[in-house]
């Protein structure tokens, strides 16, 4: 089977925020680096991030510092985060944001000319550096231009389908280029997977077609451990109408700027259910909540800015109990602020330009005049590749992971804004340490085994041998519906057991699926290949969710609705067993150092 061969020191798979930042760090560390993009450069899902980058710059509120950010992140993650990652993240995020400015990013400004920061759910102080509601675009473009300036090799529209190994260590990767379907073999003693999320395992998602858990599945099949896979973030506010836009994100920034959630009875239902551990930080009435959004340092945040898992469940409850909006969501209203602000219309357009545009163009709604209809959408996976906090290396030597496809920083639930900072902080760490790993790896590069290349080629081409087989689209759709209905926001054992069995059936269908046409830019073929990753990820989510018999963060069990202290000491892991089946295990959380414990106590 023909292929083209490339050799690099460090191969970065994925060109969103984490992959770009990792490539920059590895290149600056002296390594010969290549970056693989599943799409064109600059189109990765990071571009969709709206709200901002969380970093305790304390430009807007000088009471903020890394300790408060750390405590907020741990509280949001319900204390099963990797505390070392949470610490590194909170300490290093400010430097990573300032660095973007040095590379040309143009953040919104404070009156005295510094980087402006906004409020966001679960963050005690205004902490999100932002550019209107298109922060992700600003970040990806800045990093992309930096990558170009550094001369990193970029392979656009390529998909990696298998990692190659030399005994225990990473040796390279196998993939195809989209344009003509030609096979590519990359020799690389260090590989960083930074492939983002898994949203395409669900029917309603904010993720693009790329979010098929490629890095999760590649690492899993290469022997790495996945952890926390039961924790999926259902963002509370996705668009729900019209049907074709279902799932598209409505930034939390709308609520940060004063937007309120209302049910069909025009009641601000979020005031009705405030969790105990957030009560002391939450506004006691609507007036205090409004003052908070306008920067009053003595006010506490409105309940709309409670953590995403909680807000999503409250919305689901309102809809289930018959107080939903016409199309099965609730109302998100920012237009009401005209009662409070002169020029409210201009203010909304300036603060939330792409939201204004998105609703105007796609739903015929003018958000400065009328409420939006919103409902939960699958947004983010907290779980991913288990990595060493300080180096981002997985249990497979030479295999690193960063960003959404790595796990640890977020625990059971991610705070808004912590994703972009995660990409920057851990992308850089992964790149730094991959370059360092190369330097320490010795003169002998790992060998690439032709049998592995042949096996990967055969697996990739199999769907063409079954031209009469079922097309992959219907199988993918059935998987999405299965996960949506049975392993969604609220879970029970019986439904998840059903899902697990059904995933087996879908695997059998996928093994028989076929594609037509040739290898040139053939989306049917690509979908058939991605489907394998989605099935692995769906199984990992379902098994992990069955294992955790409690409710915490993004994992809510109707049959175990309470939090269980014993489970607060454990992470759930999956790993591929010697027989190829998925093996579950529990991993005790190491004890937190006294200094960090004190930080958490001081910020209760």
């Amino acid at each position: 089977m023909g292929h083209r061969r490339f050799d690099y020191d460090v191969l970065v798979i994925g060109a969103g925020g984490a992959g770009l930042r990792a490539a920059i760090a590895a290149a600056e560390g002296g390594a010969k680096v290549a970056l693989i993009c599943k799409s064109l450069l600059g189109k990765a899902h990071t571009v969709m991030a709206e709200g901002g980058i969380a970093a305790a710059l304390s430009n807007v509120d000088d009471r903020d510092d890394w300790t408060v950010h750390f405590a907020d992140t741990m509280r949001g993650g319900q204390y099963i985060n990797n505390w070392r990652m949470a610490e590194l993240h909170a300490r290093e995020a400010p430097a990573r944001v300032r660095e973007l400015e040095a590379w040309g990013a143009v953040f919104d400004r404070t009156p005295d000319g510094r980087i402006l920061q906004r409020n966001f759910g679960g963050h005690r102080y205004p902490r999100l550096a932002h550019v209107g509601d298109r922060t992700g675009l600003e970040m990806i473009r800045t990093l992309q231009d930096r990558v170009v300036a550094l001369g990193v090799s970029v392979h656009m529209e390529c998909t990696v389908t298998a990692l190659l190994k030399d005994a225990d260590r990473i040796a390279g990767a196998f993939g195809y280029e989209r344009e003509h379907g030609g096979f590519l073999v990359f020799g690389a003693p260090a590989i960083i997977v930074a492939t983002g999320g898994i949203g395409r395992a669900y029917k309603i998602t904010s993720n693009s077609w790329e979010g098929t858990g490629d890095g999760h599945a590649l690492a899993y099949r290469a022997g790495a451990v996945l952890v926390d896979m039961e924790f999926i973030q259902f963002h509370p506010t996705g668009m729900i109408w019209p049907p074709s836009v279902q799932g598209i994100l409505v930034t939390e920034g709308v609520r940060g700027e004063g937007g309120v959630l209302l049910n069909s009875e025009r009641e601000r239902f979020m005031f009705a259910d405030i969790p105990e551990n957030y009560r002391s930080q939450t506004a006691s009435d609507e007036e205090e909540g409004w003052r908070y959004t306008q920067g009053d340092k003595n006010a506490r945040r409105p309940p709309e800015l409670l953590t995403r898992d909680h807000v999503a469940r409250c919305i689901r409850r309102e809809v289930r109990e018959g107080r939903g909006s016409p199309h099965g969501g609730v109302f998100l209203d920012i237009s009401w602020i005209k009662k409070k602000l002169q020029n409210a219309e201009e203010h909304i357009k300036r603060k939330l330009p792409s939201m204004y545009h998105q609703f105007k163009e796609l739903a015929d709604i003018d958000i400065t005049k009328e409420p939006m209809e919103v409902g939960p959408t699958t947004h983010y996976v907290m779980g991913g590749v288990l990595v060493d906090a300080d180096t981002q290396m997985s249990s497979v030597p030479g295999l690193f992971a960063a960003g959404e496809c790595a796990a640890g920083i977020n625990g059971a639930n991610r705070l808004g804004g912590n994703s972009l900072s995660d990409l920057l902080v851990f992308g850089k760490l992964a790149g730094d340490h991959a370059a360092q790993f190369i330097r320490g790896a010795g003169p002998q590069p790992p060998a690439i085994d032709t049998a592995q290349i042949e096996a990967a080629s055969r697996a990739a081409l199999e769907p063409f041998d079954r031209r009469d087989g079922e097309p992959p689209y219907a199988i993918q759709r059935d998987l999405q519906e299965l996960m949506q209905d049975n392993v969604g926001i609220v879970r029970t054992e019986s439904e998840m057991a059903h899902a697990l069995e059904a995933i087996g059936g879908l695997r059998a269908r996928a093994a028989r699926c076929g594609v037509t046409g040739n290898r040139d830019y053939n989306p049917g073929w690509h979908t058939a290949i991605d489907l394998q990753n989605l099935l692995d990820v769906a199984e990992a989510i379902t098994r992990s969710a069955l294992e955790r018999t409690e409710s915490r963060g993004g994992h809510y069990r109707e049959d175990f609705p309470g939090k269980d202290a014993a489970w607060g000491q454990q992470n759930v892991c999956v790993q591929r067993g010697p027989d190829g089946t998925m093996q579950l295990s529990q991993r005790p959380i190491p004890e937190m150092p006294a200094q960090l414990r004190r930080v958490i106590q001081e910020n209760q």
């Binding site: 040309g104 550019v131 792409s354």
Partner: protein, 273 residues
Amino acid sequence: MSMATATFRIWRGDASGGTFQDYRTEISEGMVVLDAVHRVQAEQAPDLACRWNCKAGKCGSCSAEINGRPRLMCMTRLNSLPLDRPVTIEPMRAFPKLRDLVTDVSWNFRVKQKIAPFKPRPPDAPDGTWRMAQRDIDRVQEFRKCIECFLCQDVCHVLREHQLHDQFIGPRFLVHVAALEMHPLDVEDRVDELKQAYGVGLCNITKCCTVVCPEQIKITDNAIIPLKERVVDRFYDPVARLLRMFRRDGGRSPNVRAEAPVAGGDPRGTGKG
């Protein structure tokens, strides 16, 4: 729910040629052209090639020509099109065809490599940070809204009709240069390149790029015309020319940053450059 249908006349083929094929499919409320393409793909033509990512007008992947107009497929509502006749969907014409709706846009990425990157002045504060007023960055932020959909490149006569890809960087990259040149912190000088390598003089200000920009960036008025003026100031101003003769630095004075916005139209007249 009504089961209305519409016909989509989609270009199928590759670099060697192709034809339009008609696909009739169901349509429903709120659908955009990209939804129709996906439906055709899922039900009738599984190998129909198209690019897309965000489906919300933010990534700029799904550029195509719909009923002859360059647009994002994800932001073109079916209810904005006449459905009593077929909706034509074809790849961008200014770029080489790859397959179906996918074109080879790699030239754009090569162009960007030629442009001198951002180079900031030394930090303003001891902690390594800078101070910039919001009013001084409003214009640059407008340019940085660009999603690199390349629709402006597609519609630009200099590229589309005259194929001057080796002499002219196109509206997208003039916007990129403008964002760098008007960045309050940037100290790089790109004015010579604007005239020579970037070919800013080739733009004859027909504003087609501005019309198709899905981010409503005033490309011609706010980016290209001010850049043309910088070139004029340096190369054609007789006073500056005289001064240049006596100065070693080639007449490069510190750039005037962040022009006042040009609201609708071009108060300085067209045809310069």
